[in-house]
């Protein structure tokens, strides 16, 4: 447990250091405009400073006091269970926006954006098939019905616009 605790506290201290560096302008004499105004950077600087000091105290206490023997994870199976959920979630988030960038006049596309609806259908269908072991027609129904219901409720009903797919950009689909 101790190395994980120290590493986490160090990561928090590092984030604090980066934020403090970004907010160094707090000490610029022209930071504030009105008398007594501390300017925009003063508050994040001191919030980061408090965070960094607290993280260092945590690390110091972890190093100087007895710690539980057992590790962070119960075993290999438990890590696998977490990864089985975490990796598809990242994949799902990536599929929504796709991977593409623009360099000058040229567009590069590695994965076209599938938008919220198609990605959700694939994600839900994939889960139902892979982990839920649903019959194939149930999987097909989930894959189609979920995006449609969500589209009707949010896009049409509440007029909340969600990310659209490349097929929408080409005018082939309403989402």
């Amino acid at each position: 447990m101790r190395p994980y605790q120290v590493a986490t506290a160090a990561a928090i201290a590092l984030i604090a250091a980066v934020a403090m560096f970004d907010s160094l302008a707090a000490f610029n004499p022209s930071a504030g405009t009105a008398p007594g105004d501390v300017g925009a950077r003063w508050y994040p600087f001191w919030a980061a400073a408090i965070m960094g000091i607290a993280a260092l105290v945590v690390a110091f206490r972890v190093l100087t006091t007895p710690q539980a023997v057992e590790g962070v994870f119960a075993g290999r199976a438990s890590i696998f269970s977490v990864l089985k959920l975490a990796i598809p979630m990242f994949a799902y988030a990536t599929l929504i926006g796709g991977i593409r960038w623009r360099d000058g006049d040229i567009n590069y596309t590695v994965i076209p954006p599938l938008g919220f609806y198609i990605a959700t259908g694939l994600y839900m269908g994939g889960f139902a098939w892979w982990l839920g072991r649903y019959k194939i027609w149930w999987v097909a129904m989930i894959l189609v019905a979920f995006p449609l219901v969500i589209f009707a409720a949010f896009e049409l009903g509440f007029r909340v616009s969600l990310p659209k797919s490349f097929l929408y950009e080409q005018g082939a689909l309403p989402f």
Binding site: P44, A54, S81, V82, A86, M89, T120
Partner: protein, 507 residues
């Protein structure tokens, strides 16, 4: 006595069939909006604002401006109740003031397997909170609003400091971990444009970070996804199944019994919530966190907090609902909106050709008293509807939450923030870092900074300004005492030599 006559007149107006019908429709809409994460009372009222104009103009037989305000207020009451359902059943807050229910509401629903009791406790205490606030509204609206306006930035900042100190002083985890999480929350709240100078901060050149990091994706990530990952590890993937809520009469009866045991807490928190709600710009969220802190401080079962303690639901919920009602007080009496939702309602009043403020009380008595009467009726109706319709709402919510409510905002960045904070939340939970201070600081961070800087400007940079008024001095000293509690506890334990080496530890 005059008040009773006016109130009776108000009831006569509110009880007209068209007003009751629109109140019912609005509450159902509000409940659904409150249940959907990311869509809150404010957006609900804003979306339906144009409809209120039709209602005011007599689109329905007998409808007028009273019907229109009852319609908008009904959406707000519905959303106030609906927001808690997602917190309790799915660990996803529908509204900022429902964040606090993640601490005890969800554990009671999931770990202790009493979702019905958790919901019923929350509804019952909401109802009492709203009722107390409405009675206070009826009798003290004008004097309280005038007094609240005298709250300056120093007093408001002191209130926030007290809320944060409660989390550090009374937290179950290591106090320095609470401090680190609190500061992280404040830091995340500062990302993006500075609200006072418009300067860019901590966005590292990313345009999408300019609008800041919203509490919705972070909270859904930390509590929603983090919890799913933790459960998957503990109990296997199959456990990711959601809880279904069956609210039986037994739960409602039990909730009333539990309310009876905590009636002093609920009543005092309702009164405190009311005064919080009247403070312009603050209200339900701060009240809910303070309500939780007070419930914990005065509880004999402090160790049960965070594990499904009913006081941890009833305390904040009564304060939040009372504050929700009270946020209408400065809007109606002085023309100053007490919350974003009441600001949208005020926009409605302007659209209908009414000017909120003291004159409204004199020139449009039927409107004001009709609204006050509708608060009583609306809460009674919401309470009954909630008890009857929770299974249905839970079903709607299940559909939404499974799919991944985390992309409700229009930005892809929010999707990634949710997923990343899901992993961060999972990791921090494993290493016993408290997540509540992070979320509380993220929600209140902007207001805290604003009041701090306003106070410093008012005091020409002197920190002594915070001790100028007796109220802010008392609040600041209270915060200091709370922060010192863990230190005193450690020193005492050391003196007694109680820091014995626990079994199964290594150096």
């Amino acid at each position: 006595m005059e008040i009773f006559g006016q109130l009776a007149g108000g009831f006569a107006t509110a009880l007209q069939p068209i007003n009751m019908l629109m109140l019912f429709v609005a509450i159902v809409l509000g409940l659904v909006i409150g249940v959907l994460p990311g869509l809150g009372g404010t957006s609900g009222v804003a979306i339906l604002l144009p409809i209120s104009l039709f209602i005011k103009n007599g689109a329905l037989p007998g409808s007028n401006e009273v019907t229109a305000i009852i319609f908008l207020a009904g959406i707000y009451w519905g959303a106030l109740f609906g927001g808690v359902i997602t917190s309790i059943l799915f660990n996803i807050p529908g509204e900022p003031w429902a964040v606090v229910l993640l601490f005890d509401g969800f554990p009671l629903a999931k770990k202790l397997r009493r979702p019905g009791l958790a919901l019923a406790s929350s509804f019952v205490s909401s109802f009492v909170g709203a009722l107390v606030a409405t009675v206070l509204f009826t009798f003290f609206a004008l004097p309280v609003a005038e007094r609240a306006l005298q709250f300056g930035p120093a007093e408001l900042f002191a209130v926030f400091v007290l809320s944060f100190a409660t989390l550090i002083g009374l937290g179950a985890e290591a106090p320095m971990k609470s401090v680190a999480m609190l500061a992280l929350g404040l830091l995340l709240a500062a990302v993006g444009f500075d609200t006072i100078t418009g300067e860019q901060r901590l966005n590292f050149g990313l345009v999408s970070l300019l609008s800041g990091i919203g509490f919705v994706p972070v909270t859904i990530g930390l509590f929603g996804i983090g919890e799913i990952l933790a459960s998957a590890e503990e109990q296997g993937i199959g456990y990711v199944e959601q809880i279904s809520a069956r609210l039986g009469l037994r739960d409602v009866r039990e909730a009333f019994v539990e309310l009876g045991k905590r009636i002093r807490l609920v009543l005092s928190n309702s009164i405190i919530g009311f005064f919080f709600g009247v403070l312009p710009g603050h209200g339900a969220t701060a009240a809910s966190f303070l309500g939780y802190g007070l419930a914990r401080q005065y509880s004999k079962n402090k160790e049960n907090f965070g594990k499904g303690e009913i006081s941890g639901i009833m305390g904040p919920q009564s304060a939040a609902d009372a504050a929700g009602v009270a946020s209408l007080v400065p809007m109606i009496t002085l023309g100053i909106p007490g919350s974003p939702t009441s600001a949208v309602m005020m926009a409605g009043l302007f659209i209908w050709g009414l000017t909120p403020g003291p004159v409204l009380f004199i020139q449009h008595q039927d409107f004001v008293w009709g609204l006050i009467a509708s608060i009583y009726l609306g809460h009674l109706m919401t309470f009954i509807l909630c008890l009857l319709a929770v299974p249905l709402l839970a079903m709607i919510m299940r559909v939404i939450s499974i799919i991944g409510s985390y992309s409700l905002n229009n930005s892809m960045l929010d999707v990634f923030i949710t997923v990343i904070f899901g992993l961060i939340g999972y990791w921090l939970r494993k290493l016993k870092y408290p997540l509540a201070p992070l979320v509380v600081a993220l929600v209140l961070g902007d207001s805290t900074e604003r009041e701090l800087r306003k106070a410093l400007i008012a005091g020409h940079g002197s920190p002594l300004y915070f001790f100028n008024s007796p109220l802010s001095t008392i609040l600041m000293l209270g915060a200091l005492v709370l922060v010192l509690i863990p230190l005193v506890r450690t020193i005492r334990a050391r003196r007694r030599g109680a820091v014995a080496r626990p079994a199964g530890v290594a150096h």
